[in-house]
C-alpha cells in the first residue's frame, strides 16, 4: 500500500479531511507534523487547506520557513510528487514550488461555495484518472484564491501545458476572468490549478477531498486523489516519469 503524507501545520484545518480522502482514494494516509524534518519515507505529499500558522501576515508566507517545508522542497526537487490544496497551494506558491501567486479574491471577501473546474490534460500524476475538459463540481473556501502571474508568465504556462485546472461554466467552457458566477475569485485566465515545469508538483484552490463522497453532494474530486495515489504508487516502484510539455496538453472544452 502506498503511503501518502499529509502535512499538519498547527493551523491546518483540512488535514483530517485530506487524510480521510487519501484513504478513500486507496492510499495509506500518514500525518506529517510541521516540526519534523523528514518525510517518513512517504511516496507523495499533500499540503492541505487551512490557515497554516494563522495566516495573519499573508496566506502561506510563514509556513514556507517550517522544518517540514524544507524537507518537502528537497523531496520535490528530487522529483517527488507534491499536491497543494487551497492553503497548501498558497504555501507551495510562497515556497516557489509552483509558479504564480494567490491574491485576495476579487470583491475582497472570503468565498465558500461550489464551483466547477476542468482539467486541461489527463497525462499528469494528478489527473491520470480525470477526463480532460469534463466539468467537476467541488467547493472552494478561501479569501486569497485569485491566481496571478504576469502576462509573459501566463503565456508561458499555457504554452507549456502547466495550466492544469480552469474554472469552467456548467457546460465546460472556461470562465471569463470577469465571470463572477463561474470564476468567483477573479483568477487570471480562470486558472484554478497549475503544475510546476517538471510536472511533479501541482497546486489547486478548490477542495477535491470535500467532493469525494456522494453524501457530500459530489464525488467529482475523488479521481484527482486517486490519480495522485496511483502516481505515487508507480513512482515508488520507479515507474512514473512525470510528463510535461506543450505537446501533451489538451485544450479545455475540446475533449468532451
Amino acid at each position: 500500500m502506498t503511503r501518502i503524507g499529509v502535512v499538519v501545520f498547527p493551523g491546518s484545518n483540512c488535514d483530517r479531511d485530506t487524510l480521510a480522502g487519501v484513504e478513500l482514494a486507496g492510499g495509506v494516509a500518514v500525518a506529517l507534523w510541521h516540526e519534523q524534518a523528514d518525510l517518513d519515507g512517504v511516496a507523495g505529499v499533500i499540503l492541505p487547506g487551512g490557515f497554516a500558522y494563522g495566516d495573519y501576515l499573508r496566506a502561506g508566507v510563514i509556513a514556507r520557513f517550517s522544518p517540514i517545508m524544507r524537507a518537502v522542497s528537497a523531496f520535490a526537487s528530487d522529483g517527488g510528487l507534491v499536491l497543494g490544496i487551497c492553503n497548501g497551494f498558497q504555501v507551495a506558491a510562497e515556497a516557489h514550488l509552483v509558479p504564480g501567486a494567490l491574491l485576495r479574491n476579487r470583491g475582497l471577501r472570503f468565498l465558500g461555495r461550489d464551483v466547477r473546474i476542468a482539467a486541461s490534460r489527463s497525462d499528469t500524476p494528478f489527473t491520470s484518472l480525470v477526463e480532460a475538459g469534463r466539468p467537476m463540481r467541488m467547493p472552494i473556501a478561501h479569501g486569497e484564491g485569485c491566481y496571478f502571474a504576469d502576462k509573459a508568465e501566463l503565456d508561458a504556462l499555457e504554452r507549456e501545458g502547466q495550466v492544469l485546472f480552469r474554472y469552467v461554466s456548467a457546460d465546460g467552457r472556461p470562465a471569463a476572468e470577469g465571470d463572477r458566477e463561474a470564476n468567483p475569485n477573479g483568477s487570471l485566465r480562470a486558472i484554478a490549478g497549475v503544475l510546476n515545469a517538471r510536472g511533479n508538483v501541482a497546486g489547486l484552490m478548490p477542495h477535491p477531498e470535500r467532493a469525494s463522497e456522494a453524501i457530500l453532494g459530489s464525488d467529482d474530486g475523488l479521481p484527482i486523489l486517486r490519480s495522485f495515489v496511483g502516481a505515487a504508487a508507480r513512482a515508488e516502484q520507479g515507474g512514473w516519469p512525470p510528463v510535461v510539455g506543450a505537446a501533451a496538453a489538451v485544450p479545455v472544452g475540446v475533449a468532451s
Binding site: P10, G11, N13, C14, R16, D17, A20, G21, G49, G50, F51, Y53, G54, D55, Y56, G107, R109, F110, L111, G112, R113, P139, A141, G143, H207, E209, R210, S212, E213, I215, L216, G217
Partner: protein, 768 residues
C-alpha cells in the same frame, strides 16, 4: 482574617459597588454572605459574577419551570453545553449563546469572539465542534449603521469560524427596526463526542492543581459581563470599547486540538473555558460544582502587559484561555501537550477543601469568598411582571383565535405580491451572506446553508444530525407566549421535515430590561410558551443563555426567543429536502391555514402593525404533524417536504420550485381569504411532494395523525401557477373588473431574479 486592599480606580462621588453595577440591596446581600464588608477586589469579583449574564439573577426562577429531562440527555442546563446521546457510544453537544452587546460596539470582534466563546463551551465538554449556526438580527437595511454592522458581523463570524475550521452551516438573518440600536448576534455550536470522553467543568480532589493554558491574560474585556452584557445601551458606547474582547482564531484552533488531546488521554479531572468573568468565573464554578475550593496564586498567572491590578487579572475576559484541573503527577504530561501545540501554560492554583475561592499575591491573601456565594448561591431577584396596558389575552394552547383581518387584500395582484415578498430582505436569498462562510470544512456537511435545516453526516455510522435555528419575534411582539411557542414549533418542524427526530432544544432568550415590569412580563410569558411547546412536543430543554437589557435610546428590541434544535437521522441517506425532486410528482398540503395575518411578512409589506391578530397555534396538532412527516419520510412515501412559514404557502412553494428548477401547477382551495391562504403564516402546515402512487398513502397517514390534507397539484414545467379555487376565491379580481379569481402565474426565472437579488439590493451590495 486580614485581607489586603488592592487598588481599584474610584470615582469619589459614587460608591464603588454602584460604579461596578451592583445595587445597594446587592451590596447588603454580599455582606450577608461574607459576614463582613467585601474589599475592593472581592467587590469586583462579585460584580461580574452577579451580573445578569453570569448569575441569571432575574431569569433563574423562570428557567426552573422548563422541562429538562429526557432519556437521552447526558448533560443538561447548568453545564457548558447540553449533551444528548445518539447511540453507538456517541453523543452530541450543542448550545446557543448571544454576543449582542459586544457586536453592537465592535461588530467584527464582537461576532468573532461570539463564535469563539460558544466553540469553547462545546470542546470543554470533550466534544469536537462540527458546526456553527448564526442567528443575526439587525435594523433597517437601508441605514448606514445597519450596513456597517451587517458587514462587520458577517466578516467576524466568517473570519473566526473559517480559520478554526468549523463550518457555518445555517442560521438566520432578520431585519426589523426594533434591532436598529441593538443588533442580535446569537451563535449556536454543535459538537460530537464519544460519551466516555464527557468532561465536567468541575474541580474535584483537593490537592489537584489548576492549570491555566492558552493565551496570556490582558486588559481586554474588563467587565464585559457586567458593563456590556448587563446594562442598557446609552450614548457613551465608544467608551465601552475596551470591554469588548479581541479574538484570535488561530489560538483557538490550537486550544481545540490541545484540549481534546488532554481529554482523550485522560489527563484532566475537570476542564472549564474562560469566558465571561474570566478566572473568577472558572475558579468559582468549577469549585462550586465539585463542592471544593480553589486557591489562586495571582503571581503565577501569565500577563500580557505589566502593571495589571489584581482585579483586572481576576476579571479579564481575554479570549482563548482554558482552566484544567490536573492531578499533580500529570502536570508534566499536560505541559508537554501544551508545548507541542505552542500554547502557554502555568499552574496557577490548587484545589482545596475549604469551599472558598481565594486569591493570593506576594504571600498576602487578597480575597476569600465562598465559591457558592459567587455562583449557585448568588442573589436571585423577584422581578415585577406586568403586561402592557394594551394587549389581547394570551390564548390557551390550542384555542383558535378569530382575528379580524384589516389588511388591504382587496384589489391585490397575488403574483405581484409574491414577487415583492421574495425580494424583501427578510425572505430573499441569503447567499451573499452565507457564501462568506466556509460551510463544507470537516467533510460532514450533506446539506449546507440556504435550503432549510442543515444536515451533517456522522462519520463512521449511517447516522446524520440535523440542525436549525428559528425565532418568531414578530408574533411575540403581540403575544410573547405565542411567539415562543411558534419559534419552538418552527425550529423543530424544520428538523422533522427532513425525517429527523428532534433530540432537544437550546435557547437564547433576547429580551429588554428586566427591571421594567413590561419587559419582564415578556420574558416570563416567553419562557412559559417555550416550556408549553417543549412539553407538547416531548422535548427537553438542554441549555441556553439569557440576554437581557437589549435596549437602546430608541427603544427595546422585539422579544426574541431564539430556538436551536438538533435532530437525529438513523440513516442520513434517507433525509429529504424542501425542493421538489421529480416532474410528475403530486403536491399535497398537509395542515390548513388559520386566520391571523399579524406578524407576517405580508402584513409588514401591507403596513399592518404586529399587534393586529396573529395566528393561533394548536401544539397538539403541531406534534401530530411532525410525527406524520417523520413517519412519511421513514416509509419513503414523500420525496420532499417544505415548511410553510415566512411569506406563507406561496413563498414556500416558490422556494421548492426555484431550488429544484421544477415548476408546479396548483389549485388551492381558499377557505378564508386569498391573503390568508396564500401569504398567511399560521403554523403547523407543510407542503410535500410524492410519487403519484404514494399520494393516497400520504393522505391516509395524515388522517391517522388527525391532519387535514389537500392534493393540490403536480410538479412540472417552468412556471409557478397557483389557482385559487372554492368559495373564498373571489373578490380581488372582480373588483378590478375581471370575471375570474386572480391566479399566480410567474416564470421560475422571474421568481429567481427577485429572490436572488433582494438582499444585495437592500444592503447596497449590488452597486459595488
Amino acid at each position: 482574617m486580614t485581607v489586603a486592599e488592592p487598588p481599584v480606580a474610584r470615582t469619589p462621588s459614587i460608591p464603588l459597588h454602584r460604579s461596578l453595577g451592583l445595587t445597594d440591596d446587592e451590596l447588603d446581600a454580599i455582606r450577608e454572605r461574607l459576614g463582613r464588608d467585601p474589599n475592593d477586589l472581592e467587590l469586583a469579583m462579585f460584580s461580574v459574577m452577579w451580573s445578569e449574564h453570569c448569575s441569571y439573577k432575574s431569569s433563574k426562577p423562570l428557567l426552573g419551570t422548563l422541562p429538562t429531562r429526557g432519556d437521552r440527555v447526558v448533560a443538561g442546563p447548568g453545564e457548558n453545553a447540553g449533551v444528548v446521546s445518539i447511540g453507538d457510544g456517541l453523543a452530541v453537544a450543542f448550545k446557543i449563546e448571544s454576543h449582542n452587546h459586544p457586536s453592537s460596539v465592535e461588530p467584527y470582534q464582537g461576532a468573532a469572539t461570539g463564535v469563539g466563546g460558544i466553540l469553547r463551551d462545546i470542546f470543554t465538554m470533550g466534544a469536537r465542534p462540527i458546526a456553527v449556526l448564526d442567528a443575526l438580527r439587525f435594523g433597517d437595511p437601508a441605514e448606514a449603521r445597519t450596513r456597517h454592522l451587517v458587514d462587520g458581523v458577517v466578516r467576524g463570524v466568517g473570519g473566526y469560524g473559517n480559520c478554526v475550521g468549523v463550518p457555518t452551516v445555517g442560521g438566520e438573518l432578520v431585519f426589523d427596526p426594533s434591532y436598529g440600536g441593538n443588533p442580535l448576534v446569537n451563535v449556536m455550536a454543535i459538537g460530537l463526542l464519544e460519551e466516555r470522553h464527557l468532561t465536567r467543568a468541575a474541580a474535584p480532589g483537593p490537592g489537584n492543581l489548576a492549570v491555566l493554558f492558552g493565551s496570556s491574560t490582558g486588559r481586554d474585556g474588563i467587565g464585559g459581563a457586567s458593563v456590556l452584557a448587563s446594562a442598557t445601551f446609552s450614548d457613551d458606547d465608544p467608551a465601552k470599547r475596551p470591554s469588548v474582547q479581541v479574538g484570535d482564531p488561530f489560538a483557538e484552533k490550537l486550544l481545540i486540538e490541545a484540549s481534546l488531546e488532554l481529554i482523550e488521554r485522560g489527563l484532566v479531572e475537570g476542564l472549564q473555558d474562560l469566558g465571561a468573568a474570566g478566572i473568577t468565573c472558572a475558579a468559582s464554578e468549577t469549585a462550586d460544582r465539585a463542592g471544593t475550593g480553589v486557591a489562586i496564586d495571582l503571581d503565577a498567572i501569565p500577563r500580557r502587559e505589566p502593571g495589571m491590578a489584581a482585579f483586572e487579572v481576576m476579571i479579564s475576559e481575554s479570549q482563548e484561555r482554558m482552566l484544567a484541573i490536573v492531578r499533580p503527577e500529570r502536570v508534566a504530561e499536560v505541559g508537554a501537550i501544551c508545548d507541542r501545540w505552542a500554547i502557554g501554560w502555568a499552574v496557577i492554583g490548587r484545589v482545596t477543601d475549604d469551599g472558598d475561592v481565594s486569591v493570593t499575591a506576594g504571600g498576602h491573601e487578597l480575597a476569600r469568598i465562598p465559591a457558592g456565594a459567587l455562583t449557585s448561591n448568588a442573589i436571585v431577584h423577584d422581578r415585577l411582571s406586568a403586561p402592557p396596558a394594551r394587549r389581547r389575552a394570551a390564548p390557551a394552547p390550542g384555542a383558535p383565535i378569530v382575528a379580524s383581518d384589516q389588511l388591504p387584500e382587496r384589489g391585490m395582484d397575488p403574483g405581484a405580491v409574491l414577487l415583492a415578498l421574495l425580494g424583501t430582505p427578510n425572505l430573499a436569498s441569503r447567499r451573499e451572506v452565507y457564501e462568506q462562510y466556509d460551510s463544507t470544512v470537516g467533510t460532514l456537511t450533506s446539506t449546507g446553508p440556504g435550503r432549510g435545516a442543515a444536515v451533517l453526516r456522522v462519520r463512521g455510522t449511517t447516522k446524520g444530525l440535523v440542525a436549525a435555528t428559528d425565532a418568531n419575534a414578530a408574533v411575540g411582539t403581540a403575544d410573547p407566549w405565542l411567539g415562543a411557542a411558534m419559534s419552538v414549533a418552527e425550529a423543530t418542524r424544520n428538523v422533522s421535515i427532513t425525517g429527523a427526530r428532534p433530540l432537544g432544544v437550546t435557547n437564547c432568550l433576547n429580551f429588554g430590561d428586566p427591571t421594567r415590569p413590561e419587559a419582564f412580563w415578556q420574558l416570563a410569558e416567553a419562557v412559559r410558551g417555550l416550556g408549553d411547546a417543549c412539553r407538547a412536543l416531548g422535548l427537553p430543554v438542554t441549555g441556553g443563555n439569557v440576554s437581557l437589557y437589549n435596549e437602546s435610546p430608541s427603544g427595546a428590541i422585539r422579544p426574541t426567543p431564539e430556538i436551536g434544535v438538533v435532530g437525529l437521522l438513523d440513516d442520513v441517506s434517507l433525509a429529504i429536502g424542501p425542493a421538489f425532486v421529480t416532474a410528475g410528482d403530486e403536491v399535497l398540503l398537509v395542515g390548513e391555514a388559520g386566520p391571523g395575518l399579524g406578524g407576517s411578512e405580508y402584513a409588514r409589506l401591507a403596513g399592518a402593525a404586529p399587534e393586529d391578530g396573529p395566528p393561533a397555534i394548536d401544539l397538539g396538532r403541531e406534534a401530530g404533524l411532525q410525527a406524520f412527516v417523520r413517519e412519511a419520510v421513514a416509509r419513503r412515501l414523500v420525496a420532499s417536504a417544505q415548511d410553510v412559514s415566512g411569506g406563507g404557502l406561496a413563498v414556500a412553494v416558490a422556494e421548492a420550485a426555484m431550488w429544484s428548477g421544477l415548476g408546479t401547477h396548483l389549485r388551492l382551495p381558499i377557505a378564508g381569504s386569498p391573503a390568508v391562504d396564500l401569504f398567511g403564516e399560521s403554523p403547523s402546515r407543510i407542503v410535500v411532494s410524492a410519487r403519484p402512487e404514494h399520494a393516497l398513502a400520504v393522505v391516509r397517514l395524515a388522517e391517522e395523525h388527525g391532519l387535514p390534507t389537500a392534493r393540490i397539484g403536480v410538479v412540472g414545467g417552468d412556471r409557478l401557477v397557483i389557482e385559487p379555487v372554492g368559495s373564498g376565491a373571489t373578490g380581488a379580481a372582480e373588483e378590478r373588473g375581471s370575471g375570474v379569481a386572480d391566479s399566480i402565474d410567474v416564470a421560475l426565472a422571474d421568481l429567481r431574479h427577485a429572490w436572488d437579488h433582494g438582499l444585495a439590493r437592500a444592503l447596497g451590495w449590488d452597486v459595488a
